[in-house]
């Protein structure tokens, strides 16, 4: 494996992706809503509208008190803020890297086929394994970096808008660190591997994006739906879940690297 070649292709992919408005726009708009809009509105509503917390209904009231620290049990607004910030938004956060990586990964091989640039790459000394690793890496690293930037912004927003309500800085929790540093990279890698595999066989970006999304979203839907519950459980459970996904990543990567043959990709070209 020549990492210089891998880095060259990754650098090219990232630069190309970031200069494409079709890719950049959703990457700005969706996280802006999920990471900035929702939490600000939610926390401001709890602070500025006294009855807002009670309007959230039974979910907050039914939430296990053992999952909340004592400072969050002082009043309904604090309970609602804590449950929302720490548990509910975890599921949303899983969607950010999935969305970023699906878009970039779909653009990688399938987009290159569509723009007729892939064949030029296939004639170079770049090996099949280097190409696959570069394509996965050029989706994975930006997705991870982007998500961590979103996490930093989210943390800052919670500090600014949530701390006055709670009387202290309460975020991120240990489970969030485990989510961000372990579970999220592991799930993202699996998603990207699937989309790159689809992308190698798709005719174009839209097809790869659609098929990749159709395969990936149900999987992520299940994970996202379980995220709130997962966050209630101990950090150990998150670590174990991340380990399971990491194992799946290893298997998936081996399958893709072994099954990718440029001759097969060229046979899809006109």
């Amino acid at each position: 494996m020549d990492w210089g070649r891998v880095r060259a292709v990754m650098g090219k992919d990232v630069r190309e992706a970031l200069s494409n408005p079709q890719i950049v726009m959703p990457l700005i708009v969706v996280p802006l809503v999920i990471v900035v809009g929702y939490p600000i509105i939610y926390l401001l509503a709890l602070r500025l509208t006294p009855g807002a917390a009670s309007g959230l209904g039974g979910f907050i009231g039914d939430f296990p008190r053992s999952a909340l620290p004592s400072f969050a049990l002082a009043n309904t607004a604090r309970r609602a803020a804590y449950v929302g910030v720490v548990y509910l938004f975890a599921g949303f956060f899983l969607l950010v890297p999935v969305m970023v990586s699906t878009v970039i990964a779909a653009n990688s091989l399938a987009g290159e086929k569509e723009r007729r640039t892939l064949e030029g790459l296939l004639y170079t000394p770049l090996s099949d394994a280097e190409l696959v690793v570069a394509k996965i890496g050029s989706s994975f690293l930006p997705a991870l970096g982007f998500t961590w930037i979103c996490f930093a912004i989210y943390t800052a927003i919670i500090a600014v808008f949530g701390a006055p309500l709670m009387g202290r800085v309460f975020f991120p929790t240990l489970n969030w660190w485990a989510l961000m540093l372990l579970l999220l990279p592991a799930t993202s890698l699996l998603v990207i591997s699937i989309v790159v595999m689809v992308s190698a066989k798709a005719r174009g970006f839209q097809e790869a994006n659609a098929i990749g999304g159709a395969i990936v979203l149900p999987l992520i839907g299940v994970v996202a739906a379980q995220a709130s519950g997962l966050m209630v459980l101990s950090t150990t459970v998150i670590v174990v879940a991340a380990a399971v996904f990491a194992l799946a990543d290893v298997v998936m990567l081996r399958v893709i690297v072994r099954s990718f043959r440029r001759a097969r990709v060229v046979s899809y070209l006109s």
């Binding site: 090219k12 064949e119 030029g120 000394p125 060229v266």
Partner: protein, 329 residues
């Protein structure tokens, strides 16, 4: 019609050696028993109509497509597809693929230089030299997507050369280039072939350019090599008709019926420029026809054999005989 492999200097080691190459796509046969032998340092031209199998040949010779069946497939001393990884660093390819439009011309070349193993600095130096060679230095920082068709073609050619290849595949290299740029490219190709012993494998429809630059050509029709050899050999074999051109002085007149009566002349045709083409019964008749014409009491600008062109050979081989001089007469 000959189907012998193309041979350059047999004493040289071969850049490409192919025997019995067959490739099918489902029920469609793209290549059907292709044989080629191309010596290092040769400028080789693969000619053929659209769909003849040229692109498929180039893909297989680069190890990006597998043959359905082949007896021997060696490129630069390596067996394909087994040693494809060893061949690719030695080969540069310009096909009708695209550039990275959102990247600058310089960045496009630096990327490919790095893929061929150069450091960023070395790749940049090589890229700048190639941009200068193709007259693109002023546009080095501009996005490739803003380039005209001719400039894009030059950039694709530069990209094929960025790895200092021993063997270069070019697919319609002068498409989109103006005559001046086309001529410059032909000069570059010939220079690199002679000076650096670089082998060129060119697929093209520009028959006049191929005749000018190639030392070997092959005509591929329906997946089979129909003729191969030097352009003159191919032309001679494909177009057996022997012609002698008689060019009278501006105020002189040559009567075709007189020429038709000369020994060894089979037919005559008056050309638009006033000259007359005589069809000889055979090449051995040419000297006496020339002597007989020169003895006529007419002022002449010249008289001599008119050898068949590569274009005529190509048109004959692809079945367009009515477009060949004297065709259908």
């Amino acid at each position: 019609m000959s189907s012998d492999p193309v041979r350059a200097d047999i004493g040289d080691s071969l850049a490409i050696e192919v025997k019995g190459l067959t490739r099918s796509f489902g029920a469609v046969s793209a290549l059907d028993g292709v044989d080629l032998e191309i010596a290092r340092g040769t400028v080789f031209g693969l000619l053929g109509p659209n769909g003849a199998g040229k692109t498929t040949t180039v893909r297989i010779l680069n190890g990006v497509l597998e043959a359905t069946a082949v007896e021997c497939l060696r490129v630069l001393g390596h067996d394909l597809p087994r040693d494809a990884a060893a061949v690719r660093p030695l080969v540069g390819v310009q096909t009708d693929t695209s550039l990275y439009d959102r990247m600058s011309a310089l960045d496009n070349l630096v990327l490919f230089g790095r893929l061929y193993g150069a450091t960023r600095g070395a790749a940049r130096g090589k890229a700048e030299a190639l941009l200068a060679m193709f007259g693109l230095t002023d546009r080095a920082g501009d996005r490739a997507g803003t380039f005209s068709k001719g400039m894009r073609q030059k950039l694709l050619l530069a990209r094929a050369l960025v790895g200092d290849p021993e063997l270069v595949y070019l697919d319609e290299p002068t498409a989109g280039l103006d005559p001046e740029a086309s001529h410059e490219l032909m000069v570059h190709i010939r220079t690199m072939s002679e000076r650096d012993h670089t082998t060129f494998f060119i697929a093209s429809h520009r028959l006049d350019e191929m005749e000018e630059v190639c030392s070997q050509v092959a005509v591929l029709v329906d997946g089979r090599i129909r003729e191969c050899g030097s352009p003159a050999e191919v032309a001679r074999r494909a177009v057996p008709r022997v012609l002698v051109r008689v060019a009278p002085a501006p105020d002189a007149m040559v009567r075709p019926e007189v020429l038709r009566g000369l020994p060894g002349v089979v037919d005559t045709s008056v050309q638009q420029d006033g000259s007359v083409l005589l069809e000889a019964a055979g090449s051995s008749d040419v000297p006496r026809i020339v002597k007989a014409v020169a003895a006529l009491p007419v002022d002449l600008l010249g008289v001599g054999e008119e050898p068949p062109t590569l274009a005529e050979a190509y048109l004959t081989l692809v079945g367009a005989t009515d477009m060949v001089r004297g065709g259908g007469s």
